[in-house]
Amino acid sequence: MITQNMINVEHLEPSDISSQSPLWWGQVCIVAIEATMFSILMAAYFYVRLSVDVWPPAGDQFPHTLLPSIALLPLILSAFGSYWASQAAKKNDRTGMLLGMGLNIILATVFFVMRIIEWHSLNFNWQTDAQGSYVWAFLGLHSFDYVADLAFTIVLFFIVLSGRYAEKQRLGVHVDSVVWYFIVAIWIPIYVVIYWGPQIVETQ
């Protein structure tokens, strides 16, 4: 065994926080799955929209656009919190990670509260008609992802806060930010489709 050609890898880092990490690729796969899902749902929305003459169906209001538009601000800013945390994770800067994630969590919560308020203004639910089903499907799926990743961020925050963290958890902070960028980015086309879509292609 010993006599043969050997490559020694002892000098290599025992971990890595970058796109070289398998976990990063795993998260990219999850992002790809969710992006595909939302794309298909959007294509389906337009398919249904184009197969009827009247949209939104009679009786449905146009969704309000003011509050969701204002809500974009905290949402987009929260991505910067996430970015801050991920950069800090690379440098093993505990304070940076906590501040970044903290900012992310607060802004994300603000956005979500605004979304819940906005839900109450809709005069149709998922049982009303096809438009209701789709709008609530977008809201429901995105909220599910949103809450799941928010919860994950909160857990990471406490792990870092408790000090019981190592490279693995820092890598967690980094890849968490990858998912968060996606959740923020995918909301923008959904927002355009469900809030402005009916107004732009309106025929009521």
């Binding site: 006599t3 050609n5 690729w25 298909i40 049982q127 008609d129 096809a130 499907a137």
Partner: protein
Amino acid sequence: MNQTEPIPNSSEREAQALRDLENSWQTPRGMIGWLSCTTHQAIGMRYIVTAFIFLLAGGIEALLIRLQLALPNNTLLGPDRYNEIFTTHGTTMMFLFAVPMMEGMAVYLVPLMLGTRNVAFPRLNAFGYWIYLAGAIFLYWGVFTNTAPDAGWFSYPPLSGPAYSPGKRVDFWAQMITFTEVSAMCVASELIATIFKMRAPGMSLNRIPLYCWSMLVQSFMVIFAMPAVMIASSYLLSDRTVGTHFVNPAEGGDPLLYQHVFWLFGHPEVYIIFIPALGFVSSIVTANSRREIFGYPGMVLSIVATGFIAFGLWVHHMFATGLPQIGEAYFTAASMMIAVTSGVQIFCWIATLWTGRLRMTAALHFVFGFIAIFVLGGLTGVILASVSLDVQVHDTFFVVAHFHYVLIGGALFPLFGAFYHWFPKITGRLMNEAVGKLNFWILFIGFNLTFFPMHILGLKGMTRRIYTYGSEMGWELGNILATIGAFIIAAGGVVFLINIFLSRNRGEIAGDNPWDADSFEWAAASPPKSYNFEYLPVATSRYPLWVAASERTFVTGLRNDRREVLVTTLMDAEPHHRLVLPRSSLWPLLTALAVTIGFIGSVFNAWYITYGSILTGLAFVGWFWPRLPVETKP
């Protein structure tokens, strides 16, 4: 490499290293240990064994179908039971056998072929298996409580909707899809990460074994196809349980949309099952013609191109729905062009066999069977691609014949070949070759007797999914032949099982590399150690084991006292960093249980989605919570 023999140069240090490896990679003993196991060999075997059991279940259902159809006006099964059985047969074979089986084989083989010690996410791997198992048990719980789905394996609404399929039958079907798709996505993600990032040093893109290429492409297809079925089954489930109107024509929904979305998944699904089989065939052909595979670049590109074009075929399942003719013809074009990629592969295999030095093993018999059956199935596929011909043969037994030719011929025959080929690796003993060849001939004859007449039945107007037919239709002979053939296939299955059980205990001892094959899995012990390789190998060629022993290279410097593997770069597989993989853990099982509670509960009460999510969230916290002591620097 074989650590049972004393290693000449080894000192106490060498032995200590092996003990350390053994300690850090072995799964704890006992029930808890078994449940917390995260090694890829064990999980892969669990997939394979479970999926094989469902192959037998699906096979028994097939026999029942054939018995019912053997004679005209047969009353063996009523329409209700018959509809349940054919739906369960299709569902079982597609979702509980074919995909999980291919995934199980990959989970077992890919890390070995890449020269690493486990998949990239071992706990996710375990989780995926438990979820699959839960979904499979869930469906069969339905089967044994008269809640088996009965709307066909693609459950078209409105037939599958709340108005025409009351009760829970279709809910069981739709939710079972959710289980298996989650499982498939877990495996796909971890295989992509493993193949991209954990290859042996030197295994640059142009040296990846063809089987791993096929699994890479298959995994990407899962990533992009499974979300579609997730949406289709959620449409159905939410229409049925919470009253949405996605596919309800009465409220602006669209039943055709379901078909689009379902087949956007459904056609790639066929290739998800078939592409891994291409990998099996390439491995078996290379090893048994004892020459390098002919046209490696063409083979890789064919697989990749197939992976793409598979997403442009779905409408050929919908030619009878009356879409615009130009739109349909796009799919004719794509469906025909995919024959080019399959053709290139077939030509390359024949070229390899032509110039190789063949060793006619049982596995190679199955490859020849595969070529014969698959080429025929592929050619009838060209017929189905034509809109004008398809409207005649669509939804008839011609189609039944076609997809059994491509799926049994294209996937099951290579799979049996793969069983014969890799059995010695998995068990350490060879399977009986003579019985294997007998097994092949029984299956080959039985298969053709069963399915060839179905082409003619279809042309003679026999539609699929009918539970009976009149004696005046002239369909008796074809049906009775098919039924006899089905029992011959079953006999082939029995021969295979006998061979497995006898060889497992009494087969000839195989040694590490009984076939003198080329890829890394044959460098590991048979059966492989929990850590696969004492020293990770380095790929110095596309066929690393065909390099003279003196020129082979290995990796040192990985720590043995924890589960350490090497991460390499994506393109050229240069060593990049070391990675510590997690130890055995019960959390995947607990998380799977939480998810299962949510999924199954939601069939009966939508609030279980919430309960399940909360439980799952808690389980994930347990999963990711750092263990003490937190290791920082080595």
